[in-house]
């Protein structure tokens, strides 16, 4: 703390402001606590002591306990009730990184319900495929008074330090450094009654400080902040609940970026109003939220897309002034009338973001959402629901120094769906889903060529059957039809417009043959036809095509003893591609095959629990890939790949306080898609901790 304070020579005002607020929090806590005790609440007395203790036991944060009662209940205990200290260390090694770390944590609980905790962690991460090392040191100290008290205070201190050294492929080494420190003091008072409503007040004061360096550029700041919130809750009737919340914050200090140092500041506030209702068959809420902020800070000069662009500019660092206003309105309603239910949601989000210096200029956004879902149980065995959803969002931008807006960029999605669930017979449901959706991208004034529509229609029929109860045979069958039209509107893109139709059939079953043997098999056939809309034009170099894929997956799980599990599986994949060659007078299409691909993969895994705290395992696979391409000459490509992993894991507790856990595996792999780092590596996660 002394070292830290010494760095604040130029920011002493901010530090002193923060310290004064921290002291103020501590001094006033006792005064407010006394007031809070006198201000007994209906929650505490109305619910009775047993009820209150029950609610506290259930971690109900709205349960409030008078401080006098806390003292009475805990008076015989020593002031420090528990003190846990934990020393830990860990080492991890995987295909990407190797990491070592240590930690030392303290946790103290006091008789009055307050707690003090401290954490300290140091880690080093070494990247295996890159020349990169990251060192980190994180520490926190938190103190808070009893969470069940009406008046609560807390103090938290945090430091994150890191150094990231990285060398590029051509040998350039860069070092990024960051030392970030934060101190906060919080006060919160609940259950204040005034004008028939209940209120809570909170206040947060803090200071933040960073010394950073990225690519030899300074990035420092030191700022103090103060924030306050007032929340109110009013229940004029048992079925209605009105909540409001007002929040405001201010922050000031100074920032250094590159070679420039300037004062910085920000301020913001928000107002939220929400009404929840639950009367008869109707339940829902209505809410409005308005927020805004102003920020003044140093930043690099940015272009119209918000990207740092300092080429050819004399003043690379500028003093930015950013302003943001946002408004959200939402209404959500559910109605249940016998077998009928209706869910409705209406929402609108509007925001405006403006920059004084950035080329972005001013950006406006709006999003309107409307969803409705109507459900009906129209017989004892049938449920039907119909839903419609619409979401329209747009943004517009006036670039800095421009006189006119560039035009709205709109994205509009609408979709409608029908779901029918029919109880076919015992333990068997038939489900039908039909849906259609249209998504449109529209650029006003054609400032780009990306206007496009996507029309997506699908049907899914599925059944699920369970023979012989939960432990019995599961049989599932699913059939899907999907049609997607991709339509680019402008001539620069429309050559790729296509209609894709796909069909998929997926039967599967899981058969628990015996308590020690499971058999699981699934089969999938998938066919897609692609029709390029303008493929008949000479200027469009596109050919209609088909793609077919089959997959058969078989898995056998054997558990000869309680401690031993063996799984053997086989996966067979076949893939056929072809292009359309001609269409005859009757309109029939003919295709020729481009290529066939068949992949066979065998997996085996074994897990043996040697003792309750030690387990050995092993996995292996072998894969064969045969690709045949047809053309003037037929070519075949044959590839093999495989992997073997052997290892074990242990989790052992020595008495109640010492724990060692470790997982170690050695992997060997080969094949065309295996990285150099993945050919032979250890995967380890070893951790030891001692709590005392």
């Amino acid at each position: 703390m002394i070292l830290w304070a010494s760095n604040f020579t130029t920011r002493s005002a901010a530090v002193w402001a923060g310290c004064v607020l921290v002291l103020l929090c501590l001094m006033t806590s006792h005064t407010f606590a006394a007031d809070a005790e006198n201000d007994s609440t209906t929650t505490a007395t109305g619910g009775g002591l047993l009820g209150l203790m029950d609610r506290i036991a259930q971690d109900d944060t709205t349960a409030v306990l008078p401080d006098s009662l806390i003292a009475e209940l805990t008076g015989d205990q020593p002031y420090l009730t528990t003190w846990d200290r934990t020393i830990s260390s860990n080492m991890k090694s995987g295909i990407r990184t190797t990491q070592v770390g240590s930690g030392f944590d303290n946790s103290l609980d006091f008789r009055d319900g307050s707690t003090l905790s401290q954490t300290f962690d140091v880690t080093r991460e070494d990247y295996r495929s890159q020349e990169k090392v990251v060192d980190k040191l994180d520490t926190t100290i938190n103190y808070r008074t009893n969470l069940k008290s009406k008046f609560r205070t807390g103090i938290s201190l945090m430091q994150n330090w890191s150094e990231d050294e990285m060398t590029t492929s051509s040998g350039l080494t860069t070092l990024n450094k960051r030392n970030y420190r934060k101190a906060n003091a919080t006060m919160q008072r609940d259950s204040l009654s005034f004008a028939g409503a209940r209120h809570s007040v909170s206040l947060v004061a803090g200071i933040v400080d960073q010394q950073g360096e990225q690519q030899n550029q300074r990035n420092d700041f030191a700022e103090s902040n103060l924030a306050g919130a007032l929340g109110s809750r009013w229940q004029p009737a048992s079925w209605i609940d009105v909540k409001t919340r007002a929040y405001t914050m201010t922050e000031s200090g100074e920032r250094s970026l590159g070679k420039r140092t300037n004062p910085s500041s920000s301020s913001g506030d928000s107002l939220k109003f929400r009404v929840n209702y639950d009367k008869g068959s109707a339940k829902g809420h209505f809410s409005i939220r308005q927020s805004n902020f102003d920020k003044r800070y140093l930043d690099y000069r940015r272009n119209s897309n918000g990207i740092i662009d300092t080429i050819g500019v004399t003043e690379t660092v500028i003093e930015e002034l950013e302003r943001n206003d946002a408004l959200t309105i939402e209404w959500s309603n559910n109605i249940h009338l016998g077998p009928l239910h209706l869910k409705t949601k209406l929402a609108q989000d509007v925001s405006e973001n403006a920059f004084r210096e950035s080329g972005v200029g001013t950006k406006e956004r709006q999003q309107d959402t409307f969803d409705v879902d109507l459900g009906l149980k129209f017989s004892s065995r049938d449920t039907l629901s119909v839903s419609y959803g619409s979401m329209k969002k747009w943004d517009n931008q006036v670039y800095r120094n421009a006189t006119d807006a560039r035009g709205r960029q709109t994205n509009h999605r609408r979709d409608v769906a029908l779901r029918w669930v029919h109880d076919l017979f015992e333990n068997t449901d038939l489900k039908l889903l039909l849906s259609t959706g249209l998504t449109q991208d529209i650029a006003e004034n054609e400032f780009n060529k990306n206007d496009r529509d996507r029309l997506d229609s699908s049907m899914n029929i599925s059944t699920g059957t369970l023979f012989g109860g939960k432990e019995g045979v599961h049989v599932d069958l699913s059939f899907d039809v999907n049609r997607v039209e991709d339509i680019s509107i402008r001539k620069e893109r429309s050559g790729n417009n296509s209609i894709k139709e796909s069909y998929e059939l997926t039967p599967s079953y899981l058969w628990p043959v015996a308590s020690w043997l499971d058999l699981n098999q699934s089969f999938r056939v998938w066919i897609q036809y692609t029709d390029y809309v303008f493929s008949d034009l000479e200027t469009v170099n596109k050919e209609d095509n088909f793609n077919k894929r089959g997959n058969l997956d078989t898995r056998v799980t054997i558990r000869p003893t309680r401690r031993l599990t063996v799984t053997i599986s086989h996966n067979y994949n076949i893939k056929l591609n072809g292009k359309k060659s001609e269409t005859d007078a009757a309109g029939r299409d003919f295709y020729f095959r481009d290529s066939d691909q068949a992949i066979n993969k065998i997996n085996a895994s074994l897990s043996w629990k040697v003792t309750p705290w030690f387990e050995l395992d092993g996995t292996t696979y072998k894969s064969h890939d045969l690709t045949t391409r047809f053309g003037n000459t037929t070519t075949e490509t044959e590839r093999f790949s495989g992997e073997l992993g052997l290892g074990g894991k242990l989790h052992k507790k020595f008495s109640a306080s010492r724990t060692v856990s470790a997982g170690i595996r050695k992997f060997f792999a080969h094949g065309p898609n295996v990285q150099k780092a993945g050919q032979d590596y250890w995967d380890m996660d070893i951790a030891a901790s001692w709590r005392f």
Partner: protein, 202 residues
């Protein structure tokens, strides 16, 4: 039981309403007849996916780019991007975020020159098996606002067969790379994603 007596009628009404609604509001627009067109190839191996991604970027065609993404697509930024845009929810940068980003990016720049697979550092993009992991040195130049911004990165791309075609599942910018002209460190394209997200996305 009274409910169920009229249930079938209500159900019929719901189906009829659905058909009416979908018939009225799902009319796509008529496209213009194609002029010069972007030539994409079948994504029959990871190399073709990379070719199509380049074609889409060069021709500023978000649709062509999105067609190469798996629905399970994930983007992971490099350390420099993480440091500059720490407030962005990178953990959940998936297909929707990438689609929104590329739509905005390609609609707001003047031109792009790119070679995403300038150099294959490791891996094989010929399409054996059903999954592939390839590490590339990628280079891109973006023309915008009267200037030009360069990007260069060491990037890991992961591909997978989706349906019958290959698609890009993961784009991991490992780190920025050195500009051979100036010998200074260039950022990755992750910075574009960060700037897009930091300005509120779309």
């Amino acid at each position: 039981m009274q409910h169920f007596r009229f249930g079938s009628i209500y159900a019929m009404l719901m189906v009829v309403s659905l058909v009416s609604i979908s018939g009225c509001i799902f009319d796509a627009r008529e496209p213009e007849l194609p002029g010069a067109t972007v030539n994409y190839v079948d994504a029959s191996d990871p190399g073709n996916v990379m070719f199509n991604l380049e074609q889409a970027l060069i021709n500023l065609d978000p649709g062509g780019y999105i067609n190469m993404l798996s629905p399970d697509f994930r983007y992971e930024p490099d350390g420099g991007t993480l440091a500059n845009y720490s407030g962005v929810d990178w953990e959940n940068w998936g297909y929707e975020e990438e689609s929104a980003f590329i739509g905005s990016f390609l609609s707001n720049v003047t031109g792009i020159t790119t070679n995403l697979n300038l150099e294959i550092v490791e891996g094989d993009e010929s399409g054996t098996g059903t999954e592939a992991l390839v590490r590339y040195i990628s280079a891109t130049e973006v023309q915008e606002g009267g200037g030009e911004v360069k990007y260069r990165s060491l990037t890991t791309m992961e591909f997978r067969i989706e349906g019958t075609f290959w698609a890009l599942v993961r784009w991991f910018d490992e780190q920025g790379e050195t500009d051979p002209d100036t010998n200074s460190l260039l950022p990755t394209l992750g910075q574009r994603r960060g700037a897009f997200a930091a300005s509120g996305g779309r």
